[in-house]
Symmetry: C2
Subunit: 428 residues, 2 copies
């Protein structure tokens, strides 16, 4: 078994046009328009609005992209088990985690840190439950699953907001500190290695032509520092207020009858997951692998549509220009990466795909930077702020969009770099 | 002869610690503190304040870093000629160019484009004369050379300013257009290759948590566009005014008696270059190569002190942070690249070093971006501007500092990328 990449059908019958030959050929978008549901972790994910039901004709039907022989042997976790057993087992574990973190959250009382950690764990479990219901929907009682998906989306979203506000505030404060140079200097080992510092050129007395020397112009630095201090105070106020509101909303949600209904539904998953009748009859490998495969293929297609070649050229300045930003396709890929990761957890829990984890990290930071940039821009539209404050917010906004670009670059490296080394991995 | 790299002594006796083994070992900074002069192209270059006279003991003395045997054969332009013949020949050509462009400038009258081109040609020749007098100073009448160096620096600086203002204005206007998306979209061939555009995800109705979606938030875009328009108008006014002033100053300079004295000095170079007596007695290879070699070594040392490893990691966000900007060492390297390039033109005119030309381009753009960023920051300190204007100037400033970082990255690629392919090149 290839380490870290065995969770998915290996397909040698496909063209290798996309990155690492990841594009499925037997997949046609726009199949049956099944019920769609809001999915996982509200503010972080759009509902999946792409085509869901491809040529896969339901469990048991021969999938259009038949895995080669010998494949089932590659999934020890699936061997000799029914689809129902595997799915129910996974959902059981996640819902137990969900209920345990819920209990922890209740018990944390005034312990803000404990409550935060419990909420994180709760969302973690909710993400996995949602993704599983989404990817393996044809094997579930679909109406029930769609309903739970929507409610988990609401709950995760509500719980996420407080943490998101806190993280955004921290990110922007750190950026301001870095920009104005009040932070610690990072180590530069490449300098230390060469002890003999050369004589620095003296300031140029003939430098009458330039408006100002960019290197340490004290006026410019002082103006930025003053503006940055006020911009920091402004962002602090705005994001702290948003966080407080999010906190109240989360507390209110956790006390609501809507929430208790969600918790009851998750408790059902822990005892007997409402799966389709077919799931109990089909071997796990036959029923689960094609669906997981589909999740990976959908991801590969979405990635293929990203301007990865451009993002691979550092400093393309694409993410800053207003009409080239195009964050949405990247956010969508982030969501698809999550589905693919968790589908793999279900069918091959023993082999985590490090590439998907790295990709998820890059896209998480993409999203965080994009939202921080938007928060800086929004703060700059506050009425009656000083020009110096607005200037610092402009610098901050551009800095964060720069981070967006950097995250795209990082994602491209993750996605493209490993493929040549693992040519046999097929669809992952 | 290695194409493009034969102009310099090949040294196999050196450690290869720096990039491509470029660090000379026989060179000690801080030798005789010879006369120093302001050099070439005023606002673009600081005077070279590093140690000039190393262990090189004057023409004729055995240099500390003796080139290996067979070296002279590698320089056909120097074969069987004296140092005086080679230097006088080069200076003659450059001063003829200088005088011709001066005539063109006078004749251009109201033809602004012709005058601009003539001024560019004049500065081009002045740069080469200055660099030659600087690098091969021990072979010249030094007092005379230092005097001419200072005057050429004044002249070039005065003439450069108008063009610099125009280029800066153009650069900033183009950046504003790009940032607000009013420009043309660049082609994206990587998209065209894959025709099937995937379904874009619909806007996320559950996205209640984020301040604003960065992708095309109409409010943010409109605010930036309005601010950018005003910022553009402000920069346009400021830089056009600066350009007009520079134009008057250049006209005044060209009519001054100080200018006529410079032109007379350059005319002397065209007929009989004031070289040291020793230059007429020494073979060109013996006298010129060690000095050119020294110019290359000094460059290599300055480059070795740059944080190239850090600049090689794209998106390090170093150039934007106030106390990490450190533009001066990069500007100094730009100046040393120029000296090395023109020294090579003197001793090996037939083999231009493409790497140095690429490096010069990267550092020119480094400097242009740094000065444009400073101009944006200076404009933001204009009293009574609107916050939206200041915000756009902040974005613009950060964008240009981003270009500074990109230029450093590009320079690093140029400098480091080719070395493994040309291991035999030694000092350049």
């Amino acid at each position: 078994m290839t380490p870290g990449g065995a969770g998915v059908a290996q397909r040698h019958d496909q063209p290798t046009g996309g990155p690492a030959g990841l594009i499925g050929s037997g997949y046609e978008p726009g199949g049956a328009p099944g019920a769609r549901a809001a999915v996982v972790d509200g503010p972080h994910d759009g509902p999946y609005d792409g085509p869901y039901d491809g040529p896969y004709d339901g469990p048991g039907a021969a999938p259009a992209h038949a895995p080669p022989h010998g494949l089932h042997a590659a999934h020890p976790a699936l061997a000799a088990r029914t689809a129902e057993a595997v799915l129910a087992d996974y959902l059981h574990r996640q819902s137990s985690d969900f209920l345990r973190s819920l209990r922890l959250h209740r018990e944390s009382g005034s312990d803000a840190e404990g409550a935060g950690e419990a909420a994180r764990q709760l969302r973690r479990a909710a993400r996995r439950i949602s993704a599983t219901l989404h990817t393996f929907r044809p094997l579930t009682e679909e109406t029930w699953a769609d309903q739970l998906l929507a409610e988990l989306g609401w709950l995760s979203g509500t719980l996420a907001r407080e943490q998101t506000c806190a993280a955004r505030r921290e990110r922007l404060m750190a950026a301001l500190t870095r920009l104005t140079g009040r932070g610690d200097r990072p180590d530069r080992p490449e300098r230390g290695a060469r002890d003999a510092r050369p004589t620095r050129p003296a300031p140029d007395p003939a430098d009458r032509g330039s408006t100002a020397t960019a290197a340490g112009d004290p006026d410019a630095d002082a103006a930025l520092a003053a503006g940055a201090a006020r911009a920091g105070a402004l962002l602090d106020r705005q994001l702290t207020l948003a966080r407080t509101r999010a906190h109240s909303a989360a507390l209110q949600a956790l006390g609501s009858s809507r929430f208790h209904a969600v918790a009851d539904s998750v408790a059902v998953l822990a005892s007997e997951a409402p799966l389709a009748h077919s799931a109990s009859e089909l071997p796990a490998a036959d029923a689960l692998i094609p669906l997981a495969d589909q999740a990976h293929r959908r991801l590969a297609e979405a990635v293929a549509a990203l301007p990865l070649a451009r993002a691979g050229h550092p400093y393309n300045a694409e993410a800053l220009a207003v009409d080239h930003r195009q964050d949405a396709p990247w956010h969508q890929v982030r969501f698809l990466v999550r589905l693919a990761r968790y589908a793999q957890e279900v069918i091959a829990p023993e082999s985590a795909d490090l590439r998907l984890a790295d990709a998820a990290r890059a896209l998480d930071s993409h999203r965080a930077a994009a939202e921080a940039a938007a928060a800086a821009a929004a703060a700059a539209r506050t009425p009656r702020i000083a020009p110096a404050t607005a200037y610092a917010l402009g610098v901050l906004h551009a800095d964060q969009r720069h981070q967006v670009e950097a995250a795209r670059f990082a994602f491209g490296r993750v996605w493209l770099s490993r493929s040549p080394e693992r040519p046999a991995r097929g669809d992952t």
